[in-house]
Subunit: 215 residues, 2 copies
Amino acid sequence: MTKVDKIPEPTIKRLAFYSRPLEDLLESGPPVISSEKLADSCGVHPAQVRKDLAYFGEFGVRGVGYDVRDLLREIKRILATDKPVYLCIVGVGNLGTSLIENENFKKRGYRFKAAFDSDPEKQGEKLACGLIIEPNHRIREVCREKEIEIGVIATPPRGAQRVCDLLLDAGVKGILNFAPMQVRTTGDCRVENVDFTVKLENLAYHLHRLDESEG
Amino acid sequence: MTKVDKIPEPTIKRLAFYSRPLEDLLESGPPVISSEKLADSCGVHPAQVRKDLAYFGEFGVRGVGYDVRDLLREIKRILATDKPVYLCIVGVGNLGTSLIENENFKKRGYRFKAAFDSDPEKQGEKLACGLIIEPNHRIREVCREKEIEIGVIATPPRGAQRVCDLLLDAGVKGILNFAPMQVRTTGDCRVENVDFTVKLENLAYHLHRLDESEG
DNA sequence: GATTGTGAAGTAGTTCACAGCT
DNA sequence: AGCTGTGAACTACTTCACAATC
């Protein structure tokens, strides 16, 4: 079915992108969409959409377009979001709490199965979602027991590497890191960083550039 | 000083990256760092560090390395984060609140000067930081009055485009969008998207791939 | 006639490898 | 001797353009 050899990293990112408008269309919209329309909704080039999808098979019909329902199902299958994924969070501050409550996580089948914090004050506290905050030294045991695949780091930067090491030891296969620093992992655990300030710095740079080019 | 013509987008992102370990080093570390060491801390290639920096001038000393203090100052100047940047937030839910309280924003000089929410229940409420939540229809007036340059969207996806339009109308030059959808802007406003679920989907994809390559 | 799927062409970003400086 | 700065080589990604299909 696939001519998969090596899929470009940006392609994976865009697949997730494509799924957003497709979900909307599924509820209320025509059952078929062209690469041009889909590209438009996502701010990419139509040929890009076609090429991205073609890495994984022939999902479209020439002269017609892509069936919205089928395409969405395929994308979810590819991204392995067709079944629930178990997460844990480390660091239950403002950010951590907002992630646990996050509707988009819930909607897409990401389930927080455990929450940890190094602050003894917080340990034992029961969250709105029903989880009880556990101490960090329980990470290994709990993650293994609950078959947690992905750990989310929402601690201050200082503690991030230690938490990362604990998660690695617990056998998680992926880490979503919100701390503004690079954490080091072994080969069989992948890290994605979400650093808001990098994005802001990017904006600040371009704001400044715009000023310059006007002057 | 610069041979600036067109700076690659990834270079800007990495500059923000480089500044993290430099800040740490400034407090407690040798006053000089080599491209190799810096690259190591950030998980990039040493030649990449040198090339990135060289776009903006000759900051290093051959045979020696880069002066930590000077380099950090230069990077901050380039990213225009050497002076405070004024932000507003729209959508004061869990996520919005955690962003307003975020230490890393504060530390880097990003200042929230206004907060808006479409929920009448919340309007008038006073936040921990002292800001009072205002209704969305005040965005234009308040942003202009307070000279807000960047708007942060932390609403559910449904309302995001409307909020974006209000921010454009208010004359903001940059938007940091946390809603999981593409918002449309005009040419003189830049958008950066922070979509956590895209990152998770990325992880999920690769988790799955690892399984496959083992089998 | 419309729209996909794809090789080929084009563009952007990364790494090499070494001259040049301290 | 050590490390930067940089043209050249390489690699990755995007877009074009058109044959294939409905």
